[in-house]
Symmetry: C2
């Protein structure tokens, strides 16, 4: 039996929208959005798309008209009643009413601000200018749209059976990864793969496979829409954009040096427990920890997002010990370029020394390496970052100089202010 | 959108029938049926299920009630108008009206005769007694039902994601086999996998994958239902049951010695071209060919279904040469226990010496080896054979003594009559 109504309904769509909900985004964006809404409501910020993989000519692969249609569709979205109810009524990290009534009222009325799109050579320049807490919500949908339009461009050339085998192989690969992780005692791993996912449906499948295969070892997903629809925990804390914009807003070098701690002071006032996670690498992990106030050592954990993860985790453990804290009561969250072998290595190396969690991104939700001709579905390194705040450029140093961002003169200034010396370069895979 | 009507419809079925059509059977059964209908309409024959894999306890795996329901459902089937139209109107092997009007009239009225089912230990005794051309039509549905009920027994214990991954792996495996065969020049390969398929839907998928992946190198399927619904060629000629029953009906040793040639004389009168394929191994290939009349050397090809295939093919080539025929204008069809490596070896060995085709069975449509716990979905060796004709036991010698059938005293008599000496034993895999 053909379900005629469904078929006709599907054919009525002018486009097949990639992002269909304002909460098809990472949970930490909403937490940060609320924090910014409260603490920096007047900051004017520019977010910009940056394709670190110049060998992927996005403007040749993706039609500009289709890209605009997808972005325009996101601008037509508003929070649905059910989504609002979920955000208001759900328990996040054990806490009810994580989102305040005034924030929710604002969010319920929100439509995303305009975008600026221009083709430059084989790449797109895509920027979002406006109030920080509004434009920051573009980051994840913009990335997800570009990633999925690129997937679609490749999939368009494949026939029915090639597609079926592609997904059979992709599913088998994800499942074999899950089987390889299943035996790890006390594993705690979350899906962090929204921004560079192959597609929404694929991420949704991966999250369900993780729950099915790992049970309680799967701690949840960063994606709010999937967390809501699959009744999973929404996972995430905070990201580099907070210290980057706070730093750019700093009036002088003293304020700049203080800015990363201002971010966490604001966060400290808003959150406790497992949401008190330090992301220390924006301007160099070692310097940040050396100069950190003692109250930060009382926080629950540290997220490692650049540099050699084992080195960075050991720095964190040593720092807690030096500050009189027991690392075995702390938590290290690894979230940079993870795949099964790295997860197993880090798990073996740090189990017993501290609590560890993993935020598994691109190689969970977009590992189609070698599965298409010319490896055309391999993931690539696309980011969408705050590049300017109230007219000043933002800067990121990271623990890996290849992830550094900002004008050279500002990078030098930041290195001086934060006392960052030589750094080891590491390949940025995704 | 849920299609409520479809869902309710599916739930209305008391059972999920495995065999839903009288033409969900091998094409050669219908050709042989017509030949028997014309030449031996009064022969009383018994077909019997034989599980060569005693390590698979069918009666423990499969509920007797479910088995009866499935067999009863087959007895409720009759040829549909569309199926009849297809058989009457289609071109088979380049010939229109392959099936005569009197045969079609009989077939349109046919319901399959009763079956006799009894549990003996951990196995089932399943027999069919009656007119040869009626009971012989039970062979394929009986095998397909038992194979699929065994698959279902294993699948019942798997959860949703395990099932999804099982089929993802199975599909990937089939597709990789197809990719491995794609490069062979002048390949001609057909699906012969109805009788030992994992399931109907799986065979249907495999046939479509073969067409998609191999194009013209896929010559068709033995399954009439799939040939009809997917617009593929229906493939097949004749099988051991013809010489086995003709032999059992022979009045004395002289008639016995002549009986295999009587079979082919009848076939000769009915068919030409690519349907003139000798199956020479029933009572020993070498002796059969040595004593064959010259008109048989004029036939198009020989099917190799037991013994070492390369040896048997060489015997065929040498025989044609000795009879003054050019082997390069002949065809050898390999159909015994094939998989990719054997197909590639035989293709490499015989290309240029003769035309070759492959009839790929169990390891096309039921290769789930190592994909379930305890290898519980591995294919196994189940056959349904004519064991008696007009009260006399049937005998098969084959080129592999492990495939021999019949009472010992009769086997000795047949060996004497057909001059079969020592034979090499070979493992029977499927």
């Amino acid at each position: 039996m053909v379900d005629i109504a469904t078929r006709v309904w599907n054919h009525k769509w002018k486009i097949d929208p990639i992002v269909r909900s304002l909460i098809d985004t990472d949970f930490y964006k909403l937490l940060m959005c609320q924090s910014i809404f409260r603490n920096r409501p007047n900051a004017q910020v520019t977010f910009s798309l940056i394709n670190r993989s110049q060998n992927v000519p996005l403007a040749k692969l993706i039609d500009e008209g289709e890209l605009r249609e997808q972005l325009d569709h996101v601008r037509s979205l508003s929070l649905s009643r059910g989504e609002s109810t979920w955000l208001r009524g759900n328990t996040f990290y054990g806490k009810r009413q994580m989102f305040t009534p005034d924030f929710m009222e604002w969010f319920e009325d929100l439509r995303l601000p305009p975008y600026h799109l221009e083709r430059v050579g084989d790449q797109y320049e895509l920027t979002f200018e406006g109030k920080w807490h509004e434009v920051m919500l573009w980051e994840i949908p913009a990335l997800a749209i570009l990633m999925e339009l690129r997937s679609r461009a490749v999939l368009d050339k494949m026939d029915k059976f090639e597609l079926q085998i592609l997904y059979a192989r992709g599913m088998t690969r994800v499942w074999e990864k899950i089987e390889a992780l299943r035996g790890l005692d006390n594993l705690s791993i979350a899906d962090f793969g929204t921004r560079r996912r192959h597609s929404y449906l694929w991420q949704d499948w991966c999250a369900q496979a993780m729950r099915e295969g790992l049970g309680d070892k799967f701690s949840g997903t960063s994606n709010c829409k999937i967390a809501m629809s699959r009744e999973l925990e929404a996972i995430g804390t905070n990201a580099h954009e907070l210290p980057m914009v706070y730093a750019a807003l700093a009036k002088d070098d003293d304020a700049l040096a203080q800015s990363p701690y201002d971010v966490l002071q604001d966060w400290h006032d808003e959150h406790d427990g497992n949401l008190r996670i330090i992301l220390p690498d924006t301007y160099g992990t070692q310097g940040f920890l050396d100069k950190a106030p003692d109250w930060l050592a009382g926080w629950t954990g540290i997220r490692i997002d650049s540099g050699d993860p084992a080195t960075a985790a050991q720095i964190a453990i040593d720092w807690w010990s030096a500050r009189g804290e027991d690392p075995r009561e702390k938590r290290v969250i690894f979230s940079d370029g993870l795949d099964v072998d790295k997860i197993k290595d880090l798990h073996a190396q740090f189990t017993g020394k501290t609590n560890i969690s993993f935020g598994w991104g691109t190689l969970l939700t977009n590992d189609f390496r070698e599965l298409a001709v010319d490896d055309a579905l391999a993931p690539f390194s696309l980011v969408c970052k705050a590049v300017q705040a109230n007219g000043a450029p933002t800067v990121k140093l990271s623990d890996n100089p290849r992830k550094a961002m900002g004008p050279d003169v500002e990078i030098e200034r930041y290195k001086r202010v934060f006392g960052v010396g030589d750094q080891v370069e590491q390949d940025v895979f995704v």
